[in-house]
Amino acid sequence: MKERDLREQETGDKWEVQLRKGCLALAILAALWDRRRYGLEILRRLESDSNLIVSEGTIYPLLSRLKAQGLVHSEWVESDAGHPRKYYALTPAGKRRAIEMTGIWARFSSSMSQLLAPLVKENR
């Protein structure tokens, strides 16, 4: 425990990593909102749309957990590349959860924005 506290002090931007990590599950559900996608497609979408820099390995165990929780389901699809790809899509429970999380996020971010408004001016 102590060791971890020390490490957190050493790297000042640890907080940013935690923030991103906490949002990752919602970001993945959101990336699957309009259609099914495979792992690398989800990664590319996260990189291009949301600036969430994700270490690539992290996404696969998380996808597997979302599947175990029944929020996504998966299927193997043959591709032109010569190997099949594992596509993920939201289940009805996953859609409900994504909407629920989005609501929590919206409330959270609007109250944070209010609170931070004076600091934003300073930042300019």
């Binding site: 990590k21 792992g39 690398l40 690539e56 696969y60 165990p61 175990a68 590349a81």
Partner: protein
């Protein structure tokens, strides 16, 4: 699309190390994980390489470096998966399986595992005594009897054999409702506590990692 021999070797070596660390999961799950990552590495290496789409060992190296070490990846799979499944199913078997996995990782996990085994054991004994009381009304239940050195010994008896001389049935017919309610309560409490601990553990592990 072609793959050079050397590139293929690197992919197989990485996936072999991953597979070895995933032991403990179902065979089917391991196969899926390995195939999914193989497909990721091939796609990633093909885009990293030249326009020809050829998979070179340099392209594979880039893809593997971005994925992180197979050990780290495997550990995320094992912990996340087992704990998530235990949280969803809440069956004692699944919870004990997850705790065995956790116990192999840390002392905290071992403590929770031992506590959980004790909780399930006593919960099951309570229920069993309540069930056996109608069958063996004169011998099953919570008994006290002298242990020979002037002290009293407390004992759960399932009703097999005979009660030693001087024994006293503490609860009588109350054994049945108390055993049922207390036993089921203890089983549920154990499950809830184990899930709570696992959730705390997962939170503390997932968030701080870089």
């Amino acid at each position: 699309m072609t793959t050079t021999g050397n590139a293929q070797q690197r992919i197989d070596a990485y996936l072999g190390r991953l597979r070895a660390r995933l032991r403990g999961l179902e065979d089917e799950d391991i196969r899926e994980i390995v195939e999914e990552l193989r497909s990721h590495i091939m796609d990633k290496a093909a885009t990293a390489g030249e326009a020809s789409g050829e998979i070179t060992s340099a392209g594979v190296d880039t893809a593997l470096a971005a994925l992180g070490s197979p050990e780290e990846l495997a550990s995320q799979y094992l912990t996340d998966n087992l704990l998530a499944r235990a949280e969803v199913s809440r069956s004692p078997v699944q919870i004990l399986r997850s705790l065995f996995r956790w116990a192999s990782l840390s002392v905290a996990g071992l403590c929770v595992l031992l506590g959980c085994i004790a909780g399930y054991f006593f919960g099951a004994v309570f229920v069993l005594v309540a069930l056996l009381k109608p069958l063996h009304p004169h011998t099953a239940g919570l008994w006290t009897f002298p242990n020979g050195i002037g002290d009293f010994e407390l004992s759960f008896r399932l009703g097999f054999g005979s009660v030693p001389a001087g024994g006293r049935d503490l609860l009588g017919w109350w054994t049945i409702p108390i055993g049922m309610v207390g036993g089921c309560g203890l089983l549920m409490l154990t499950t809830h506590t184990a899930v709570w601990f696992m959730r705390q553990y997962r939170r503390s592990r997932i968030l701080p990692q870089g």
